[in-house]
């Protein structure tokens, strides 16, 4: 019964979406306040309907209602509660419902918080948001109904893929989805602005925080996924340039560019058309990611051709959305009035270069990801484009960005002096030389990669510190005044510094891991000692036991570092009987200087277990750097009220239900 309510709510949401698209759009064209006022309650109703559907699906999972086909295929009665819940979005149908839920949530957010928006802009934004929802609701209802019943119901489910039964992965999809579906709002705002034919700083003030929020979640989501891959897949990699990873990385790159260009629109009323285009591109890349992942085209072109229904549907949505929005852009963008002027050497100029580099980086990932599909479809030739390709192309593209990252924030708006900015950076330059030189000596001049990596990290970090000291005028005014300035800095300033510094920390982590990792693979029996670097590991024992829905072999290793007891590690190997699938649970001891990573394999025929040990320097810096970017995003978001200024104060009132707004 509850499943049917869910299904019904989805159908209802579909019809609400039709009204949400048509009525406000028509109302905005006719300047009819009453019809425009329909937008907000429609968005709220839309969100409510989808929330009910999502709740119904969640209910089916929690109660293990195996008469629902989706639950039977992806859950199991013995599965821990957390994974019953995360199982809702751990499969195709459920994840699509989650997708539209987030979409409707963002539409609802505009309805709820959009008091200050001009009526027509608000109506149009909500209408476009509804249009995207409409397409995906149709997709779910026609090809991917999560509420389909089974008769007779099976006694138990087929369980969720054990690799997905992990806390990191329980939260990874929601973060990721809030991130890349969140860019839909930037897209809707862009479309609405094109229809209105007007982009002003007020528009950017709206778009920027929402883009920033989406970007922050996307960053967190990607990081969580990377972290999961690192500890769960058992071979200690953290980024594989897998097409599915790239699918979330491209919107991230474009979204990062969008964040920066929106600053220029907001502060200087320039780069309007470009920012609109970026908003379109960013969300189009999100849609393309959904297509790549959901159509199965990545697994093989063949699989896609055999069951093309879903893939073609999303491809259709993608083509209409991208084609439609670009056409609208081509027609309307020339009408946008160009804004403030600036010299090539200026903050604006720096941000334009930032956008150029990030765009080229996006294109690099885009071509690399799609080329094999493209070539296969055109000529039937098969090529592989993997990590070595991206390391050889993407990394060099990003290097100029790192150089620029230290200089750009030191340039004033409108017109700057490159020499003055560079002169401010002499301490950073010295620091960079010292760090790079230090690494060169330490490494005895061998490979150049770590020298460059740490050198650039030092340059970026130096740039951040320089910018901060300039801002608080350290040593040029009394120290107390400087500190007061430091505490009174706006959130956005902290946000920028933190995020940029996070970049430096991340580069250190990535460089350390890629260049200094050491590995030992050996067969060990109980009592054997393994030595890797400063570490000595004694395999005490391997015990077999049973978890809630799996069996495990758990090893106990006593580790000493330089002869001093350091840790006791328990790597596991699990077998999930329902899916007949083994997983590894690595044991990781993290320290600020790096990770000690131990995984065990199956017992070998000759007795003993295969043990893999890695010393992975600076890996925690990768996560720390990414978390700093997330924190930077949050800090910058906290600044919103300040930035927007006085009119916002009225918003301290609790958001009343949007329905009342219709009567306004």
């Amino acid at each position: 019964m509850i499943a049917e309510i869910g299904h019904y709510a989805l159908v209802l949401a579909f019809f609400v979406a039709i009204a949400q698209v048509v009525v406000p759009l028509y109302g905005a064209a006719r300047r009819d306040t009453a019809l425009m006022g329909f937008a907000a309650p429609a968005a709220s109703a839309q969100f409510l309907c989808i929330a009910i559907a999502f709740g119904a699906l969640m209910h089916a999972y929690i109660t293990s209602d195996f008469s629902v086909a989706n639950v039977a295929q992806n859950s199991h009665s013995l599965k821990p509660l957390l994974y019953k819940i995360s199982g809702v979005w751990g499969n195709h149908e459920g994840s699509m419902v989650f997708w539209v839920l987030i979409l409707a949530l963002f539409g609802f957010a505009v309805a709820a918080f959009g008091r200050q928006l001009p009526d027509s802009l608000k109506a149009r934004v909500i209408s476009i948001q509804g249009l995207i929802g409409l397409a995906f609701l149709a997709f779910i209802l026609l090809t991917s109904n999560p509420f389909e019943r089974l008769d007779p119901a099976p006694l138990d489910g087929r369980d969720l893929n054990p690799l997905l039964q992990d806390p990191g992965l329980a939260f990874h999809p929601p973060m990721l989805y809030i991130g890349y579906v969140g860019f839909s709002l930037a897209f809707s705002f862009a479309m609405a602005a094109l229809i209105e034919g007007r982009v002003d700083p007020a528009w950017a003030r709206w778009v920027r925080p929402w883009t920033l929020a989406a970007w922050t979640f996307l960053t967190a989501g990607i990081t969580l996924g990377s972290w999961w891959a690192y500890y769960e897949l058992g071979w200690g990699g953290w980024w594989f340039w897998d097409p599915v990873e790239n699918a979330s990385f491209m919107p991230w790159l474009a979204g990062t560019a969008l964040l920066h260009s929106a600053i220029v629109v907001e502060k200087r009323d320039a780069l309007k058309a470009w920012t609109i285009l970026l908003a379109i591109i960013t969300f189009s890349l999100s849609l393309m990611g959904t297509f790549l992942v959901r159509s199965g085209i990545l697994t093989s072109v063949h699989a896609f051709a055999v069951d093309p229904e879903r893939g073609l549907f999303i491809l259709g949505i993608l083509i209409v959305a991208v084609g439609g929005s670009l056409t609208l852009f081509a027609v309307r963008a020339p009408a946008l009035k160009a804004g403030g002027l600036f010299a090539p050497v200026s903050r604006e100029g720096g941000l334009v270069l930032n956008n150029l580099i990030l765009s080229v980086a996006t294109v690099t990932v885009f071509i690399g990801t799609l080329y094999p599909l493209f070539l296969d479809a055109m000529t039937g030739d098969k090529v592989s484009v993997g990590a070595p390709f991206f390391n050889a192309t993407f990394v060099p593209v990003m290097i100029p960005l790192l150089v620029l990252l230290a200089i750009g924030p030191l340039l004033p708006w409108k017109r700057g002096n490159l020499r003055a900015a560079v002169e401010k950076l002499w301490v950073s330059a010295l620091f960079t030389v010292v760090v790079a030189g230090g690494i060169l000596v330490l490494e005895k001049g061998a490979p150049l990669a770590p020298v460059l990596g740490f050198g650039f990290a030092a340059w970026v970090a130096g740039g951040v510190v320089t910018e901060l000291t300039e801002r608080i005028r350290l040593f040029r005014i009394p120290l107390g005044d400087s500190l007061r300035r430091l505490f009174n800095l706006p959130g956005a300033a902290y946000g920028m510094s933190l995020a940029h510094l996070g970049m430096a920390v991340f580069i250190c982590g990535a460089t350390g891991e890629m260049n200094w990792t050491r590995e030992l693979v050996a067969t060990a029996r109980a009592g054997d000692t393994l030595t890797l670097g400063q570490y000595e590991l004694v395999l005490e024992k391997v015990e077999r036991s049973q978890g809630p829905n799996y069996f495990r072999d758990m090893a106990t290793l006593n580790v000493s570092k330089d002869g001093v007891p350091y840790a006791t590690l328990h790597p596991e190997r699990r077998l999930y009987p329902v899916q007949q699938m083994p997983t590894t649970e690595a044991a990781i001891r993290s320290g600020i200087s790096g990770d000690l990573y131990v995984a065990i394999g199956e017992g070998s025929d000759l007795g003993g277990y295969i043990v893999r040990v890695w010393v992975k320097p600076l890996v925690p810096w990768i996560w720390a750097g990414a978390m700093m970017m997330v924190l930077g995003g949050l800090f910058s978001l906290s600044d919103r009220r300040l930035r927007i200024g006085a009119p916002k104060r009225s918003r301290r009132r609790p958001a009343a239900p949007a329905v009342t707004e219709a009567g306004d």
């Binding site: 994840s95 893929n161 690799l163 997905l164 992965l169 990874h172 999809p173 996924g225 999961w228 891959a229 897949l233 071979w235 990699g237 594989f240 340039w241 897998d242 599915v244 990873e245 699918a247 979330s248 992942v293 990545l298 697994t299 403030g340 002027l341 010299a343 090539p344 100029g349 334009v352 270069l353 150029l356 765009s359 080229v360 294109v363 071509i367 690399g368 080329y371 070539l375 030739d381 098969k382 090529v383 592989s384 484009v385 993997g386 990590a387 070595p388 390709f389 050889a392 192309t393 017109r415 693979v521 050996a522 067969t523 699938m581 083994p582 394999g601 199956e602 070998s604 295969i610 893999r612």
Partner: protein, 160 residues
């Protein structure tokens, strides 16, 4: 999650016995083994989703690792081994595709787009130039123009 589903799918299908590189496969000579590891990172496990044979647990990956090491022991160079693998399995086996007619756009496309973008940005920036006020100022003179003006001015001076 999205990645994991695909990865997971692949792993389920392949349901591998143990680890990637196993102790039994490794070569005694550490230098040769190090070369083997580096080389395996560039060789695709053909039945996997975007995994190198160094990472993969699939049976085929293991076979390829063993073959690769045999060739190394036999004294082949890295490029000879790659050629050998490409002859057997096609370009698909290399995770870093070779530069040739079909892959020109892959390798140089981003570069070409970068150059075009840079030209576009340069043109845009020069047009956006600001004289410091809110009014647009005329473009500064090029060296040629300056010379011509100087010449004209000095001519006028002479006449005066």
């Amino acid at each position: 999650m999205i990645r994991s589903i695909i990865l997971a799918l692949v792993l389920v299908v392949l349901s591998m016995p143990a680890f990637a590189v196993e102790p039994g496969e490794m070569l005694k000579d550490p230098a040769l083994e190090a070369r083997a590891r580096e080389l395996s990172k560039e060789v695709r496990c053909l039945v996997c989703q975007n995994q190198s044979i160094d990472d993969s647990n699939a049976g085929l990956a293991k076979d390829l690792r063993v073959i690769l090491r045999e060739r190394l022991v036999a004294g082949d160079s890295d490029s000879e081994i790659k050629t050998f693998l490409v002859e057997r399995y096609g370009d698909f086996v290399l995770l870093k595709p070779p530069v040739k007619a079909e892959t020109l756009f892959l390798w140089y496309g981003p570069f070409a787009i970068g150059v075009l973008g840079a030209i576009g940005v340069a043109v845009f920036l020069l047009r956006r130039r600001d004289g410091g006020g809110d009014e647009a100022v005329p473009m500064p003179l090029s060296d040629d123009e300056r010379k011509r003006i100087d010449a004209l001015m000095s001519e006028q001076d002479r006449k005066a």
